[in-house]
Protein backbone atom coordinates (compact mmCIF):
# COMPACT_ATOMS: atom_id res chain seq x y z
CA UNK A 1 0.00 0.00 0.00
CA UNK A 2 2.65 2.48 1.05
CA UNK A 3 4.52 1.66 -2.12
CA UNK A 4 1.55 2.63 -4.24
CA UNK A 5 1.04 5.87 -2.37
CA UNK A 6 4.62 6.82 -2.81
CA UNK A 7 4.20 6.39 -6.56
CA UNK A 8 2.68 9.86 -6.75
CA UNK A 9 4.05 12.90 -5.02
CA UNK A 10 0.68 14.58 -5.29
CA UNK A 11 -2.51 12.58 -4.88
CA UNK A 12 -4.77 15.50 -5.70
CA UNK A 13 -3.80 18.33 -7.99
CA UNK A 14 -6.16 20.96 -9.34
CA UNK A 15 -5.43 23.92 -11.50
CA UNK A 16 -7.91 26.73 -12.07
CA UNK A 17 -10.73 24.40 -11.10
CA UNK A 18 -14.02 26.23 -11.30
CA UNK A 19 -17.62 25.19 -10.82
CA UNK A 20 -20.48 27.55 -11.44
CA UNK A 21 -24.16 27.00 -10.83
CA UNK A 22 -25.76 29.65 -12.99
CA UNK A 23 -24.54 32.98 -11.68
CA UNK A 24 -23.12 31.52 -8.49
CA UNK A 25 -19.50 30.40 -8.43
CA UNK A 26 -19.14 27.58 -5.93
CA UNK A 27 -15.50 26.79 -6.69
CA UNK A 28 -13.43 29.66 -8.00
CA UNK A 29 -10.19 28.84 -9.85
CA UNK A 30 -9.00 26.49 -7.14
CA UNK A 31 -5.37 25.47 -7.24
CA UNK A 32 -4.87 22.68 -4.76
CA UNK A 33 -2.01 20.26 -4.21
CA UNK A 34 -2.36 17.42 -1.75
CA UNK A 35 0.82 15.44 -1.18
CA UNK A 36 0.78 11.69 -0.62
CA UNK A 37 0.91 10.09 2.80
CA UNK A 38 -0.60 12.86 4.92
CA UNK A 39 -3.89 13.71 6.58
CA UNK A 40 -4.96 16.84 4.72
CA UNK A 41 -7.69 19.07 6.09
CA UNK A 42 -9.87 21.04 3.73
CA UNK A 43 -11.14 23.73 5.99
CA UNK A 44 -13.86 26.24 5.42
CA UNK A 45 -17.11 27.60 6.81
CA UNK A 46 -20.40 26.09 5.74
CA UNK A 47 -21.14 26.95 2.12
CA UNK A 48 -17.48 27.70 1.34
CA UNK A 49 -17.40 25.25 -1.56
CA UNK A 50 -15.75 22.28 0.13
CA UNK A 51 -18.33 19.67 -0.83
CA UNK A 52 -18.69 21.06 -4.34
CA UNK A 53 -14.96 20.75 -4.95
CA UNK A 54 -15.05 17.16 -3.71
CA UNK A 55 -18.06 16.39 -5.92
CA UNK A 56 -16.24 17.80 -8.92
CA UNK A 57 -13.12 15.79 -8.11
CA UNK A 58 -15.12 12.60 -7.88
CA UNK A 59 -17.05 13.19 -11.08
CA UNK A 60 -20.39 13.59 -9.34
CA UNK A 61 -20.83 16.87 -11.14
CA UNK A 62 -18.88 18.30 -14.04
CA UNK A 63 -16.34 21.09 -13.66
CA UNK A 64 -17.07 24.33 -15.49
CA UNK A 65 -13.40 24.86 -16.23
CA UNK A 66 -9.95 23.92 -14.99
CA UNK A 67 -7.89 20.78 -14.75
CA UNK A 68 -7.51 18.13 -12.10
CA UNK A 69 -5.53 15.00 -11.42
CA UNK A 70 -6.14 12.26 -8.92
CA UNK A 71 -3.26 9.90 -8.10
CA UNK A 72 -1.39 11.49 -10.95
CA UNK A 73 -4.10 10.68 -13.50
CA UNK A 74 -6.09 13.36 -15.28
CA UNK A 75 -9.78 13.26 -14.57
CA UNK A 76 -12.30 12.90 -16.07
CA UNK A 77 -10.16 11.40 -18.85
CA UNK A 78 -8.87 8.56 -16.65
CA UNK A 79 -11.52 8.78 -13.98
CA UNK A 80 -12.22 5.06 -13.81
CA UNK A 81 -8.57 4.17 -13.25
CA UNK A 82 -8.00 6.99 -10.78
CA UNK A 83 -11.05 6.35 -8.63
CA UNK A 84 -10.44 2.61 -8.54
CA UNK A 85 -7.94 3.30 -5.75
CA UNK A 86 -9.92 6.04 -4.04
CA UNK A 87 -12.44 5.60 -1.26
CA UNK A 88 -14.83 8.47 -0.72
CA UNK A 89 -17.70 9.52 1.47
CA UNK A 90 -19.55 12.60 0.29
CA UNK A 91 -21.73 14.25 2.92
CA UNK A 92 -23.09 11.23 4.76
CA UNK A 93 -22.73 7.63 3.66
CA UNK A 94 -25.96 6.19 2.27
CA UNK A 95 -27.03 2.56 2.18
CA UNK A 96 -29.92 0.32 1.26
CA UNK A 97 -31.65 0.13 4.63
CA UNK A 98 -33.28 -3.22 3.95
CA UNK A 99 -29.92 -4.89 3.35
CA UNK A 100 -27.48 -5.88 6.07
CA UNK A 101 -24.16 -4.11 6.46
CA UNK A 102 -22.38 -7.01 4.82
CA UNK A 103 -24.85 -7.14 1.91
CA UNK A 104 -24.40 -3.43 1.32
CA UNK A 105 -20.68 -4.05 1.04
CA UNK A 106 -21.34 -6.87 -1.43
CA UNK A 107 -23.28 -4.40 -3.59
CA UNK A 108 -20.44 -1.87 -3.37
CA UNK A 109 -17.76 -4.50 -3.98
CA UNK A 110 -19.47 -5.40 -7.26
CA UNK A 111 -18.44 -1.96 -8.52
CA UNK A 112 -14.81 -2.53 -7.56
CA UNK A 113 -12.12 -4.92 -8.72
CA UNK A 114 -12.60 -8.65 -8.28
CA UNK A 115 -10.55 -8.71 -5.07
CA UNK A 116 -12.88 -6.25 -3.36
CA UNK A 117 -15.24 -8.97 -2.20
CA UNK A 118 -12.42 -10.66 -0.30
CA UNK A 119 -11.82 -7.36 1.55
CA UNK A 120 -15.33 -7.23 3.01
CA UNK A 121 -14.46 -9.24 6.13
CA UNK A 122 -11.20 -7.41 6.92
CA UNK A 123 -12.84 -4.01 6.27
CA UNK A 124 -15.68 -4.78 8.65
CA UNK A 125 -13.19 -5.95 11.22
CA UNK A 126 -11.08 -2.84 10.88
CA UNK A 127 -14.02 -0.56 11.62
CA UNK A 128 -15.27 -2.81 14.41
CA UNK A 129 -18.52 -3.84 12.78
CA UNK A 130 -18.02 -7.57 12.39
CA UNK A 131 -20.50 -8.42 15.13
CA UNK A 132 -23.25 -6.25 13.67
CA UNK A 133 -22.51 -6.88 10.00
CA UNK A 134 -25.46 -9.19 9.50
CA UNK A 135 -28.03 -6.78 10.88
CA UNK A 136 -30.05 -4.57 8.60
CA UNK A 137 -28.56 -1.13 8.11
CA UNK A 138 -31.84 0.58 8.99
CA UNK A 139 -31.18 -0.45 12.60
CA UNK A 140 -27.70 1.14 12.61
CA UNK A 141 -26.87 4.29 14.52
CA UNK A 142 -25.29 7.27 12.74
CA UNK A 143 -21.88 6.30 14.09
CA UNK A 144 -22.25 2.75 12.80
CA UNK A 145 -23.25 4.04 9.38
CA UNK A 146 -20.17 6.22 9.33
CA UNK A 147 -18.04 3.21 10.16
CA UNK A 148 -19.76 1.13 7.51
CA UNK A 149 -19.08 3.96 5.08
CA UNK A 150 -15.40 3.77 5.94
CA UNK A 151 -15.49 -0.01 5.50
CA UNK A 152 -16.99 0.55 2.06
CA UNK A 153 -14.10 2.89 1.24
CA UNK A 154 -11.59 0.27 2.34
CA UNK A 155 -12.94 -2.21 -0.21
CA UNK A 156 -10.89 -0.31 -2.78
CA UNK A 157 -7.68 -0.80 -0.79
CA UNK A 158 -7.49 2.96 -1.30
CA UNK A 159 -4.38 5.04 -1.77
CA UNK A 160 -6.54 8.06 -1.08
CA UNK A 161 -9.54 8.49 1.20
CA UNK A 162 -11.75 11.50 0.60
CA UNK A 163 -14.05 12.19 3.52
CA UNK A 164 -16.54 15.03 3.54
CA UNK A 165 -17.38 16.28 7.03
CA UNK A 166 -16.72 12.80 8.44
CA UNK A 167 -17.35 13.62 12.09
CA UNK A 168 -20.84 14.99 11.53
CA UNK A 169 -23.25 13.15 13.77
CA UNK A 170 -20.57 11.35 15.77
CA UNK A 171 -20.59 11.50 19.55
CA UNK A 172 -17.39 12.51 21.39
CA UNK A 173 -16.25 8.91 21.79
CA UNK A 174 -16.90 8.31 18.09
CA UNK A 175 -14.91 11.42 17.17
CA UNK A 176 -11.91 10.25 19.20
CA UNK A 177 -12.19 6.80 17.63
CA UNK A 178 -12.40 8.38 14.19
CA UNK A 179 -9.33 10.50 14.86
CA UNK A 180 -7.35 7.41 15.78
CA UNK A 181 -8.65 5.64 12.71
CA UNK A 182 -7.50 8.42 10.38
CA UNK A 183 -4.05 8.40 11.94
CA UNK A 184 -3.83 4.63 11.51
CA UNK A 185 -4.78 4.98 7.85
CA UNK A 186 -2.09 7.60 7.34
CA UNK A 187 0.39 5.38 9.17
CA UNK A 188 -0.36 2.73 6.52
CA UNK A 189 1.05 5.15 3.95
CA UNK A 190 -2.33 6.22 2.60
CA UNK A 191 -3.56 9.78 2.22
CA UNK A 192 -6.66 11.12 3.90
CA UNK A 193 -8.27 14.24 2.50
CA UNK A 194 -10.99 15.42 4.82
CA UNK A 195 -13.17 18.45 4.61
CA UNK A 196 -14.45 20.02 7.76
CA UNK A 197 -15.71 23.22 9.24
CA UNK A 198 -14.48 22.00 12.64
CA UNK A 199 -11.15 23.72 13.10
CA UNK A 200 -10.31 21.83 16.23
CA UNK A 201 -10.75 18.53 14.42
CA UNK A 202 -8.47 19.53 11.57
CA UNK A 203 -5.86 20.79 13.98
CA UNK A 204 -5.92 17.53 15.91
CA UNK A 205 -6.08 15.12 12.98
CA UNK A 206 -4.29 16.73 10.06
CA UNK A 207 -0.70 17.32 9.09
CA UNK A 208 -1.58 19.78 6.38
CA UNK A 209 -4.56 21.93 5.53
CA UNK A 210 -6.01 24.36 3.06
CA UNK A 211 -8.44 27.11 3.98
CA UNK A 212 -11.25 27.71 1.53
CA UNK A 213 -13.94 30.35 1.52
CA UNK A 214 -16.28 31.67 -1.14
CA UNK A 215 -14.93 28.93 -3.41
CA UNK A 216 -11.37 30.27 -3.28
CA UNK A 217 -8.44 28.49 -1.69
CA UNK A 218 -7.00 31.17 0.54
CA UNK A 219 -3.94 29.39 1.88
CA UNK A 220 -2.46 25.95 2.20
CA UNK A 221 0.45 24.35 3.97
CA UNK A 222 1.21 22.47 7.14
CA UNK A 223 -1.09 23.25 10.02
CA UNK A 224 1.82 24.85 11.87
CA UNK A 225 2.73 27.00 8.84
CA UNK A 226 -0.80 28.23 8.46
CA UNK A 227 -1.12 29.03 12.15
CA UNK A 228 2.21 30.86 12.12
CA UNK A 229 1.45 32.73 8.94
CA UNK A 230 -0.35 35.65 10.53
CA UNK A 231 1.00 38.87 11.98
CA UNK A 232 3.61 38.34 14.71
CA UNK A 233 1.96 38.27 18.11
CA UNK A 234 3.37 38.19 21.63
CA UNK A 235 1.81 37.79 25.00
CA UNK A 236 3.16 39.86 27.86
CA UNK A 237 2.53 38.85 31.46
CA UNK A 238 2.05 42.00 33.57
CA UNK A 239 0.67 42.89 36.99
CA UNK A 240 -1.54 45.73 35.69
CA UNK A 241 -2.88 45.02 32.20
CA UNK A 242 -5.00 48.18 32.07
CA UNK A 243 -2.05 50.45 32.79
CA UNK A 244 0.14 48.45 30.42
CA UNK A 245 -2.33 48.86 27.59
CA UNK A 246 -2.47 52.60 28.20
CA UNK A 247 1.33 52.84 28.17
CA UNK A 248 1.57 51.05 24.84
CA UNK A 249 -1.33 52.87 23.23
CA UNK A 250 0.81 54.92 20.86
CA UNK A 251 3.83 52.66 20.64
CA UNK A 252 4.87 52.44 16.98
CA UNK A 253 5.71 48.72 17.18
CA UNK A 254 2.25 47.75 18.49
CA UNK A 255 -0.43 47.38 15.86
CA UNK A 256 -3.10 46.05 18.15
CA UNK A 257 -3.42 45.18 21.81
CA UNK A 258 -5.91 43.37 23.96
CA UNK A 259 -6.20 42.19 27.52
CA UNK A 260 -5.89 38.50 28.24
CA UNK A 261 -5.80 36.68 31.55
CA UNK A 262 -2.75 37.97 33.45
CA UNK A 263 -1.51 40.27 30.77
CA UNK A 264 -1.72 41.62 27.24
CA UNK A 265 -1.73 40.14 23.83
CA UNK A 266 0.08 42.37 21.37
CA UNK A 267 -0.05 42.15 17.59
CA UNK A 268 3.20 43.70 16.41
CA UNK A 269 3.80 46.02 13.52
CA UNK A 270 7.53 45.56 14.14
CA UNK A 271 8.66 42.25 15.63
CA UNK A 272 12.38 42.98 15.74
CA UNK A 273 14.28 42.26 18.99
CA UNK A 274 14.85 45.98 19.43
CA UNK A 275 11.13 46.72 19.19
CA UNK A 276 10.22 44.02 21.71
CA UNK A 277 12.95 45.26 24.06
CA UNK A 278 11.63 48.80 23.75
CA UNK A 279 8.10 47.66 24.57
CA UNK A 280 9.38 45.91 27.67
CA UNK A 281 11.47 48.93 28.68
CA UNK A 282 8.50 51.31 28.32
CA UNK A 283 6.38 49.09 30.52
CA UNK A 284 9.02 48.81 33.23
CA UNK A 285 9.70 52.57 33.17
CA UNK A 286 5.98 53.21 33.66
CA UNK A 287 6.01 51.04 36.79
CA UNK A 288 4.32 48.00 35.28
CA UNK A 289 5.62 44.70 36.65
CA UNK A 290 6.61 42.50 33.67
CA UNK A 291 7.08 38.86 34.49
CA UNK A 292 6.79 37.15 31.09
CA UNK A 293 7.22 38.01 27.37
CA UNK A 294 6.70 35.22 24.85
CA UNK A 295 5.49 34.60 21.32
CA UNK A 296 1.75 33.96 21.37
CA UNK A 297 0.63 30.60 20.01
CA UNK A 298 -1.79 31.37 17.24
CA UNK A 299 -4.30 28.60 16.75
CA UNK A 300 -5.57 27.45 13.41
CA UNK A 301 -8.92 28.78 14.48
CA UNK A 302 -7.55 32.28 14.89
CA UNK A 303 -5.87 32.11 11.51
CA UNK A 304 -9.00 30.73 9.96
CA UNK A 305 -11.12 33.53 11.36
CA UNK A 306 -8.54 36.09 10.36
CA UNK A 307 -8.32 34.81 6.80
CA UNK A 308 -11.98 34.21 6.17
CA UNK A 309 -13.10 37.48 7.75
CA UNK A 310 -10.54 39.33 5.65
CA UNK A 311 -12.08 37.87 2.53
CA UNK A 312 -15.48 39.00 3.69
CA UNK A 313 -14.13 42.52 4.22
CA UNK A 314 -12.55 42.58 0.77
CA UNK A 315 -15.88 41.93 -0.78
Amino acid sequence: MAEAAQGHSLVIETSGLTKRFGERTAVDHADLQVPAGVAFGFLGPNGAGKTTLIRVLLGLTAATEGEMKILGMPVPARRHEALARVGAIVEEPRFHGHLTGRENLVVAAACRDAAAESRIGPSLERVGLTDRADERVKSYSMGMRQRLGIARCLLADPELLILDEPTNGLDPAGIIEFREFVRSIVDDGRTVFLSSHLLDEVEKICDMAAIVDHGKILMAGTVAEIAAGGQPTISVGVDDPTLAERVLLDHPAVAESGEIAGGLRLVLADSSNAAVADITRKLVEAGVGVYRVEPARVTLEERFLEVTSRLGTDE
Binding site: R55, L60, P93, R152
Partner: protein, 254 residues
Protein backbone atom coordinates in the same frame (compact mmCIF):
# COMPACT_ATOMS: atom_id res chain seq x y z
CA UNK B 1 -21.67 -7.23 -18.67
CA UNK B 2 -20.42 -7.57 -15.13
CA UNK B 3 -21.90 -10.66 -13.46
CA UNK B 4 -21.18 -9.30 -9.99
CA UNK B 5 -23.13 -6.13 -10.72
CA UNK B 6 -26.08 -8.20 -11.90
CA UNK B 7 -25.89 -10.42 -8.80
CA UNK B 8 -25.77 -7.33 -6.62
CA UNK B 9 -28.92 -5.97 -8.28
CA UNK B 10 -30.67 -9.31 -7.79
CA UNK B 11 -29.59 -9.38 -4.15
CA UNK B 12 -30.94 -5.90 -3.56
CA UNK B 13 -34.31 -6.72 -5.10
CA UNK B 14 -34.65 -10.21 -3.67
CA UNK B 15 -34.06 -8.90 -0.16
CA UNK B 16 -36.81 -6.34 -0.50
CA UNK B 17 -39.41 -8.67 0.97
CA UNK B 18 -42.36 -6.32 0.90
CA UNK B 19 -41.78 -5.64 -2.78
CA UNK B 20 -41.49 -9.33 -3.67
CA UNK B 21 -44.62 -10.14 -1.67
CA UNK B 22 -46.65 -7.45 -3.43
CA UNK B 23 -45.44 -8.55 -6.84
CA UNK B 24 -46.45 -12.11 -6.02
CA UNK B 25 -49.85 -10.97 -4.76
CA UNK B 26 -50.49 -9.00 -7.97
CA UNK B 27 -49.52 -11.92 -10.20
CA UNK B 28 -49.84 -15.36 -8.63
CA UNK B 29 -52.30 -14.05 -6.06
CA UNK B 30 -54.51 -12.53 -8.76
CA UNK B 31 -54.76 -15.65 -10.93
CA UNK B 32 -55.23 -17.84 -7.87
CA UNK B 33 -58.05 -15.63 -6.66
CA UNK B 34 -59.62 -15.64 -10.13
CA UNK B 35 -59.67 -19.42 -10.39
CA UNK B 36 -60.66 -20.08 -6.78
CA UNK B 37 -63.53 -17.61 -6.87
CA UNK B 38 -64.76 -18.96 -10.22
CA UNK B 39 -64.48 -22.52 -8.96
CA UNK B 40 -66.32 -21.50 -5.81
CA UNK B 41 -69.20 -20.21 -7.92
CA UNK B 42 -69.13 -23.44 -9.92
CA UNK B 43 -69.26 -25.61 -6.81
CA UNK B 44 -72.01 -23.46 -5.35
CA UNK B 45 -74.19 -23.59 -8.46
CA UNK B 46 -72.81 -25.86 -11.16
CA UNK B 47 -75.96 -25.56 -13.26
CA UNK B 48 -75.44 -21.87 -13.80
CA UNK B 49 -71.63 -21.60 -13.46
CA UNK B 50 -69.28 -23.81 -15.39
CA UNK B 51 -65.91 -25.06 -14.15
CA UNK B 52 -63.22 -22.42 -13.55
CA UNK B 53 -60.62 -24.08 -15.77
CA UNK B 54 -60.50 -24.81 -19.48
CA UNK B 55 -59.20 -22.83 -22.44
CA UNK B 56 -61.63 -19.92 -22.35
CA UNK B 57 -61.31 -19.25 -18.64
CA UNK B 58 -57.57 -19.71 -18.87
CA UNK B 59 -57.39 -16.87 -21.35
CA UNK B 60 -59.58 -14.71 -19.19
CA UNK B 61 -57.05 -15.35 -16.45
CA UNK B 62 -54.26 -14.42 -18.86
CA UNK B 63 -55.89 -11.09 -19.60
CA UNK B 64 -56.03 -10.40 -15.88
CA UNK B 65 -52.42 -11.52 -15.51
CA UNK B 66 -51.27 -9.31 -18.38
CA UNK B 67 -52.94 -6.25 -16.85
CA UNK B 68 -52.04 -6.81 -13.20
CA UNK B 69 -48.70 -8.23 -14.22
CA UNK B 70 -48.00 -4.98 -16.05
CA UNK B 71 -48.95 -3.06 -12.93
CA UNK B 72 -46.59 -5.26 -10.90
CA UNK B 73 -43.87 -4.81 -13.52
CA UNK B 74 -44.36 -1.05 -13.34
CA UNK B 75 -43.90 -1.14 -9.58
CA UNK B 76 -40.74 -3.23 -9.90
CA UNK B 77 -39.32 -1.28 -12.83
CA UNK B 78 -39.80 2.07 -11.13
CA UNK B 79 -38.17 0.68 -8.00
CA UNK B 80 -35.09 -0.32 -9.93
CA UNK B 81 -35.06 2.90 -11.94
CA UNK B 82 -35.07 5.14 -8.90
CA UNK B 83 -33.93 3.31 -5.79
CA UNK B 84 -30.21 4.04 -6.08
CA UNK B 85 -30.89 7.72 -6.65
CA UNK B 86 -33.54 8.18 -3.99
CA UNK B 87 -31.60 6.21 -1.38
CA UNK B 88 -28.47 8.20 -2.16
CA UNK B 89 -26.50 5.03 -2.88
CA UNK B 90 -26.08 6.04 -6.52
CA UNK B 91 -23.56 8.69 -5.49
CA UNK B 92 -21.61 6.19 -3.43
CA UNK B 93 -21.48 3.78 -6.35
CA UNK B 94 -20.47 6.47 -8.84
CA UNK B 95 -17.51 7.53 -6.70
CA UNK B 96 -16.01 4.08 -7.19
CA UNK B 97 -15.20 5.23 -10.70
CA UNK B 98 -17.44 2.66 -12.35
CA UNK B 99 -19.10 3.73 -15.57
CA UNK B 100 -22.61 4.96 -14.96
CA UNK B 101 -23.72 3.24 -18.14
CA UNK B 102 -22.45 -0.11 -16.86
CA UNK B 103 -24.29 0.45 -13.61
CA UNK B 104 -27.46 1.19 -15.54
CA UNK B 105 -27.18 -1.64 -18.02
CA UNK B 106 -26.55 -4.20 -15.26
CA UNK B 107 -30.00 -3.41 -13.96
CA UNK B 108 -31.71 -4.84 -17.04
CA UNK B 109 -30.64 -8.48 -16.61
CA UNK B 110 -30.86 -8.09 -12.83
CA UNK B 111 -34.42 -6.88 -13.17
CA UNK B 112 -35.35 -9.70 -15.54
CA UNK B 113 -33.71 -12.26 -13.25
CA UNK B 114 -36.10 -11.20 -10.50
CA UNK B 115 -39.15 -10.64 -12.67
CA UNK B 116 -39.17 -13.77 -14.80
CA UNK B 117 -39.54 -16.23 -11.90
CA UNK B 118 -42.39 -14.12 -10.52
CA UNK B 119 -44.37 -13.93 -13.74
CA UNK B 120 -43.58 -17.54 -14.69
CA UNK B 121 -44.78 -18.76 -11.30
CA UNK B 122 -48.08 -16.98 -11.86
CA UNK B 123 -48.33 -18.47 -15.33
CA UNK B 124 -47.57 -21.98 -14.11
CA UNK B 125 -50.18 -21.61 -11.37
CA UNK B 126 -52.72 -20.44 -13.96
CA UNK B 127 -51.86 -23.41 -16.16
CA UNK B 128 -52.26 -25.84 -13.28
CA UNK B 129 -55.68 -24.38 -12.42
CA UNK B 130 -56.56 -24.51 -16.11
CA UNK B 131 -56.24 -28.28 -16.01
CA UNK B 132 -57.24 -28.91 -12.41
CA UNK B 133 -60.55 -27.06 -12.70
CA UNK B 134 -61.26 -27.93 -16.35
CA UNK B 135 -64.00 -30.43 -15.63
CA UNK B 136 -65.54 -31.35 -18.99
CA UNK B 137 -64.19 -28.22 -20.73
CA UNK B 138 -61.59 -28.18 -23.49
CA UNK B 139 -58.04 -27.39 -22.34
CA UNK B 140 -55.17 -25.87 -24.30
CA UNK B 141 -52.46 -27.89 -25.99
CA UNK B 142 -48.76 -27.50 -25.25
CA UNK B 143 -48.07 -25.19 -28.19
CA UNK B 144 -50.83 -22.77 -27.21
CA UNK B 145 -49.70 -22.80 -23.62
CA UNK B 146 -46.14 -21.92 -24.64
CA UNK B 147 -47.30 -19.19 -27.05
CA UNK B 148 -49.64 -17.67 -24.48
CA UNK B 149 -46.89 -17.82 -21.87
CA UNK B 150 -44.41 -16.06 -24.11
CA UNK B 151 -46.96 -13.36 -24.81
CA UNK B 152 -47.64 -12.71 -21.13
CA UNK B 153 -43.94 -12.65 -20.36
CA UNK B 154 -43.28 -10.28 -23.28
CA UNK B 155 -46.10 -7.88 -22.44
CA UNK B 156 -45.17 -7.60 -18.78
CA UNK B 157 -41.42 -7.44 -19.48
CA UNK B 158 -41.97 -4.56 -21.87
CA UNK B 159 -43.89 -2.75 -19.12
CA UNK B 160 -40.94 -3.49 -16.86
CA UNK B 161 -38.41 -1.89 -19.19
CA UNK B 162 -40.61 1.10 -19.93
CA UNK B 163 -41.04 1.68 -16.20
CA UNK B 164 -37.34 1.36 -15.47
CA UNK B 165 -36.28 3.71 -18.24
CA UNK B 166 -38.90 6.32 -17.47
CA UNK B 167 -38.22 6.14 -13.73
CA UNK B 168 -34.50 6.64 -14.36
CA UNK B 169 -35.40 9.70 -16.41
CA UNK B 170 -37.86 11.21 -13.94
CA UNK B 171 -36.09 10.15 -10.76
CA UNK B 172 -39.31 9.83 -8.78
CA UNK B 173 -41.00 6.50 -8.30
CA UNK B 174 -44.41 7.88 -7.37
CA UNK B 175 -44.62 10.26 -10.30
CA UNK B 176 -43.51 7.59 -12.74
CA UNK B 177 -46.07 5.08 -11.49
CA UNK B 178 -48.75 7.75 -11.75
CA UNK B 179 -47.79 8.65 -15.30
CA UNK B 180 -47.56 5.03 -16.46
CA UNK B 181 -50.80 3.90 -14.87
CA UNK B 182 -52.54 6.99 -16.22
CA UNK B 183 -51.16 6.21 -19.66
CA UNK B 184 -51.93 2.52 -19.54
CA UNK B 185 -55.38 2.72 -18.01
CA UNK B 186 -56.75 5.96 -19.45
CA UNK B 187 -54.78 7.81 -22.11
CA UNK B 188 -53.67 4.90 -24.28
CA UNK B 189 -57.15 3.29 -24.53
CA UNK B 190 -58.60 6.73 -25.24
CA UNK B 191 -56.12 7.43 -28.04
CA UNK B 192 -56.73 3.95 -29.44
CA UNK B 193 -60.42 4.69 -29.64
CA UNK B 194 -60.04 7.97 -31.54
CA UNK B 195 -60.48 6.75 -35.10
CA UNK B 196 -59.48 10.10 -36.61
CA UNK B 197 -55.89 9.32 -35.54
CA UNK B 198 -55.86 6.50 -38.09
CA UNK B 199 -52.66 4.51 -38.49
CA UNK B 200 -50.75 6.72 -36.10
CA UNK B 201 -52.44 4.68 -33.39
CA UNK B 202 -50.15 1.84 -34.42
CA UNK B 203 -47.40 3.36 -32.32
CA UNK B 204 -49.44 2.71 -29.20
CA UNK B 205 -48.12 -0.12 -27.06
CA UNK B 206 -51.68 -1.40 -26.66
CA UNK B 207 -52.09 -1.77 -30.42
CA UNK B 208 -48.84 -3.67 -30.86
CA UNK B 209 -49.42 -6.03 -27.93
CA UNK B 210 -52.94 -6.72 -29.21
CA UNK B 211 -51.49 -7.55 -32.63
CA UNK B 212 -49.07 -10.14 -31.24
CA UNK B 213 -51.62 -11.55 -28.81
CA UNK B 214 -51.87 -15.25 -29.74
CA UNK B 215 -55.57 -15.51 -28.97
CA UNK B 216 -58.67 -13.40 -29.40
CA UNK B 217 -60.40 -11.73 -26.54
CA UNK B 218 -59.93 -8.81 -24.23
CA UNK B 219 -60.40 -5.18 -25.09
CA UNK B 220 -56.87 -4.57 -26.23
CA UNK B 221 -57.33 -2.29 -29.21
CA UNK B 222 -58.98 -2.47 -32.57
CA UNK B 223 -56.18 -1.27 -34.85
CA UNK B 224 -54.99 -3.72 -37.45
CA UNK B 225 -51.30 -3.65 -38.27
CA UNK B 226 -48.75 -5.99 -39.75
CA UNK B 227 -46.89 -8.36 -37.47
CA UNK B 228 -43.55 -6.82 -38.41
CA UNK B 229 -44.83 -3.34 -37.67
CA UNK B 230 -46.09 -4.57 -34.31
CA UNK B 231 -42.71 -6.10 -33.46
CA UNK B 232 -40.91 -2.89 -34.45
CA UNK B 233 -43.27 -0.87 -32.28
CA UNK B 234 -42.71 -3.20 -29.33
CA UNK B 235 -38.92 -3.02 -29.75
CA UNK B 236 -39.13 0.76 -29.85
CA UNK B 237 -41.20 0.76 -26.66
CA UNK B 238 -38.35 -1.12 -25.00
CA UNK B 239 -35.41 0.68 -26.59
CA UNK B 240 -36.52 4.30 -26.37
CA UNK B 241 -37.33 4.45 -22.62
CA UNK B 242 -34.19 2.46 -21.82
CA UNK B 243 -32.07 4.80 -23.91
CA UNK B 244 -33.61 7.88 -22.31
CA UNK B 245 -33.04 6.39 -18.86
CA UNK B 246 -29.43 5.61 -19.76
CA UNK B 247 -28.88 9.15 -20.98
CA UNK B 248 -30.27 10.60 -17.76
CA UNK B 249 -28.27 8.23 -15.59
CA UNK B 250 -25.03 9.18 -17.29
CA UNK B 251 -25.69 12.91 -17.17
CA UNK B 252 -27.43 13.53 -13.86
CA UNK B 253 -25.61 15.16 -10.95
CA UNK B 254 -25.06 12.45 -8.36
Amino acid sequence: MNGRLISAEVLRLRKSRALVIWLTVLTTGAVTAFFLIAQGFHINNSAQNGPAGGAVNFRHALMILSILGSVAATILGTNVGTSDVTSGVFRDLVVTGISRLRLYLARVPGLLAVWLPIILLAYVVATVFNFAFAGNLRTLGATAIIKDGLWVVAVTSIALMVAMGLAALIGSRGITIGILLGWQLAISPLLGAISVLGVTREVLLESATARVQPFTGGDRGTITMSLIAAIVVLLCWVAVPLAIGAWRTTTRDA
